[in-house]
């Protein structure tokens, strides 16, 4: 609420966001985190494509998930918009890829960055928050029938190659 109306006062805002994202890109390139990638879509830097590997010993093990990240002019004082591009069956992600995660909403802090967001999402895969699900069936099955849950995860999953082929 706050930042949207304030953005106009800062003519240099766009440059600052780009600088910050440049720096994050440098960090990611210099110190890559295993299981996580992120790269800007174009020179504009405001849209990125990221991937996270499903954590081991979870239903998402050995799966790779593609995400889109979009950074507004008030980043890092407002969270980026993050969506799963890979179809995913998960209690806190809906079928359009929208994610329910507090740090991407009201718990966002300016100290978070692309790396911490992706790590949080990775851990969300293994530890869903079943008390406020976007996908009620998934939350239910997670507790009751893990085998069925795994089946549905795999049924829904597409590899990055399949996604590219489908031009998504």
């Amino acid at each position: 609420m706050a930042l949207s109306s304030g953005a106009r006062t800062n003519g240099s805002g766009g440059a600052t966001v780009a600088q910050r994202l440049q720096k994050e890109l440098m960090d990611i390139m210099m110190k890559p985190t295993p299981g996580i990638t992120a790269f800007p879509d174009d020179e504009n830097m405001s849209r990125w494509t990221a991937t996270i590997d499903g954590p081991s010993s979870t239903p998402y093990e050995n799966l790779v998930f593609k995400l889109s990240m979009e950074f507004g002019p008030t980043y890092p004082y407002a969270p980026p918009t993050v969506l799963f591009k890979t179809p995913i069956y998960h209690p806190n992600v809906d079928f359009s890829g929208r994610i329910c995660l507090d740090i991407l909403k009201d718990k966002w802090s300016a100290v978070y960055n692309i790396g911490t967001v992706l790590l949080s999402l990775q851990s969300l895969l293994g530890e869903p928050n079943n008390s406020s699900p976007l996908n009620g069936q998934a939350a239910d099955l997670w507790d009751k029938d893990m085998d069925e849950f795994k089946r549905l995860v795999l049924a829904r999953h597409k590899t990055p190659e399949e996604l590219d082929a489908a031009d998504l």
Binding site: M1, A2, L3, S5, G6, A7, T9, N10, S12, G13, T16, R20, K23, D27, T74, P76, Y77, A78, P79, D106, K107, W108, S109, A110, V111, N113
Partner: protein
């Protein structure tokens, strides 16, 4: 942000009201509460329903539930009303203005507010708005910190503060913040310290500061930085602060301090005071304006200022439920030499640009008596949106008068209890004039006119910055209505050459008969003869 933390005994804040996260417009508290505010109904989110049927705008969350019972309808509207946040407007940090504006704002509000706000200007003469965007408390304290340092006006102090802040990186590291992440925010604070330290020579610190805090990028970085300091401070003293918290310190910090949009609460105020304000020797006081019983705002001292050669730098915050602004006592402000940056002040206030139109107008407006003519012209202009006509007490048109050396001639050898005041002080005061309703303006305007020869003014070269200005310690109360005046130090003081009671503080107080609030109000009159002779001697000594 509601405070879940008021439980077991944070004594210092015992009767502080819980923050309601509902915002900004004080009028929301004043008039009787409507279930929904009119602006809500007018907003695009809701369209007037044809009788009996309720069609919601597609953008509402209820778009998929077009038919509702009246109760549901009411609940839905109430929900929208609760969630309603007025669009925040105004500068991130406003110009300093007379706090009588607050009284005007509450003129039609609840009687308790009316009484309290009417009592406000006599004690706290000025205030500054902070935009109510959910960061105002953080912003107010951060701004006050830099402003108080400017007030102290010591270049070395800025260096010391920069070094101290840099040393606090250890604290941030200890709290688990990565230097990569916080250094960008911290650098903005260091930069501003450096800039302001450098500005002491030039004397434009006040405008630099205002500019910095009105730049969204700089201002948000500094706010984020001070939030991290507060968080790290609390985490480094977890056992102590845990007593005031109902949740564990780590989650408290991440939810109530580090979160990008969260208003400061009492714990965080205390922590930030300990981490940032108090070690710098700055005092912090919060004045609570609420519906509690009493005739004036309730003051809470959070930290006490140190004495810097007679200066007691203070941050005073005006708290209205959900919102902070900055308050000033008249004596918080440095010695009055406020004309130097009048152009800056005018730049914020384009209502008044007509005064700059012709030099003739400037000259005219310098003649006492003429300004009142101007006043009525600008009053009309400036009343446009914000200021109701009740504010008859001001002269909104201090003409730009850059070539002024009011104090310098009064520099005899400093007697004992005198504080050297650097150039920056002159500036510190300046934004007063940006305000269209500063009741200080008429008085300072007059004092100015008495102190210089108007016809020479446009050709007068810029004076060298005064190296030391003798100033009686104005923060010392002496009993009786009169405060020490710099004029006392002048040879010939009291011989009738100069009108005796001329400190700005006195001039602006209601003890001055020239002040509109004085029961025996008598406007100052201009006596050409006195004026010229009184001025000449001083002017000569200035040019030598």
């Amino acid at each position: 942000m509601a405070t879940p933390v008021m439980a077991g005994g944070f004594q210092a804040f015992g009767h502080v009201p819980a923050h309601s996260h509902y915002h900004e417009s004080p009028l929301a508290f004043g008039p009787p509460h409507l279930p929904f505010r009119p602006s809500e109904l007018a907003s695009a989110r809701y369209q007037h329903p044809p009788a009996g049927h309720f069609h919601y705008n597609q953008t509402t969350s209820m778009a998929d539930a077009p038919f509702l019972t009246p109760e549901e309808e009411f609940a839905q509207l109430q929900k929208l009303s609760n969630e309603y946040e007025p669009e925040v407007t105004g500068p991130l940090v406003g110009d300093r203005q007379s706090s009588s504006a607050i009284a005007t704002e509450y003129a039609n509000a609840d009687p308790i507010y009316r009484v309290k706000t009417q009592a406000l200007p006599s004690k706290y003469a000025f205030f500054r708005t902070c935009r109510g965007d959910g960061h105002c408390g953080w912003r107010a304290i951060a701004f006050g910190y830099f402003e108080a340092l400017l007030h102290v006006g010591d270049v070395a102090k800025f260096d010391v503060e920069e070094a101290r802040l840099i040393s606090m990186n250890n604290l941030l590291n200890l709290a688990g913040f990565s230097e990569d992440v916080y250094i960008d925010f911290a650098e903005e604070a260091y930069d501003l310290l450096r800039k302001l330290g450098g500005s002491l020579q030039v004397g434009n610190g006040a405008s630099l500061l205002l500019e910095a805090f009105n730049d969204m990028g700089v201002s948000m970085a500094i706010i984020t930085y001070v939030k991290l300091l507060a968080s790290a401070w609390i985490q480094s003293r977890a056992e102590e602060y845990q007593n005031y918290l109902q949740i564990d310190v780590k989650s408290y910090c991440s939810q109530n301090i580090e979160a990008a949009v969260c208003e400061i609460d009492d714990i965080a105020v205390a922590a930030l005071s300990e981490a940032l304000v108090k070690p710098a020797g700055i005092g912090l006081e919060i004045l609570y304006l609420d519906r509690s019983v009493g005739d004036e705002v309730n003051a809470h001292a959070i930290s006490q200022p140190m004495n810097f050669n007679g200066l007691l730098p203070m941050i005073r915050l005006l708290y209205r439920p959900g919102h902070y602004d900055i308050l000033y006592r008249a004596e918080d402000l440095p010695a009055p030499q406020q004309q130097a940056t009048i152009h800056v002040a005018l730049a914020y206030n384009n209502n008044h640009n007509f005064e700059e139109a012709s030099p003739d107008a400037n000259l005219l407006s310098m003649i006492p008596g003429m300004y009142s003519h101007n006043r009525f012209q600008t009053v009309d202009q400036s009343f446009g949106h914000r200021w109701p006509p009740a504010t008859y007490d001001f002269d909104p048109t201090p003409a730009p008068q850059p070539h002024i050396t009011p104090i310098q001639p009064y520099a005899p050898p400093p007697p004992a209890p005198v504080a050297p005041v650097s150039v920056a002080h002159q500036d510190f005061m300046s934004p007063v004039h940006a305000s269209p309703i500063s009741h200080q303006s008429p008085a300072s305007h007059h004092s100015l006119q008495l102190e210089q020869q108007p016809m020479q003014l446009p050709f007068h070269p810029h004076p060298p910055p005064p190296l030391s200005i003798d100033r009686a310690p104005i923060t010392v109360e002496r009993g009786g209505p009169f405060r020490p005046s710099m004029y006392e130090l002048e040879p010939g003081f009291g011989t009738g050459e100069v009108t005796p009671f001329q400190t700005n503080i006195f001039r602006n107080s209601h003890f001055n008969t020239c002040h509109f609030m004085n029961p025996s109000f008598q406007p100052e009159e201009w006596s050409p003869h006195e004026y010229r002779t009184g001025n000449k001697g001083r002017h000569k000594s200035a040019s030598q």
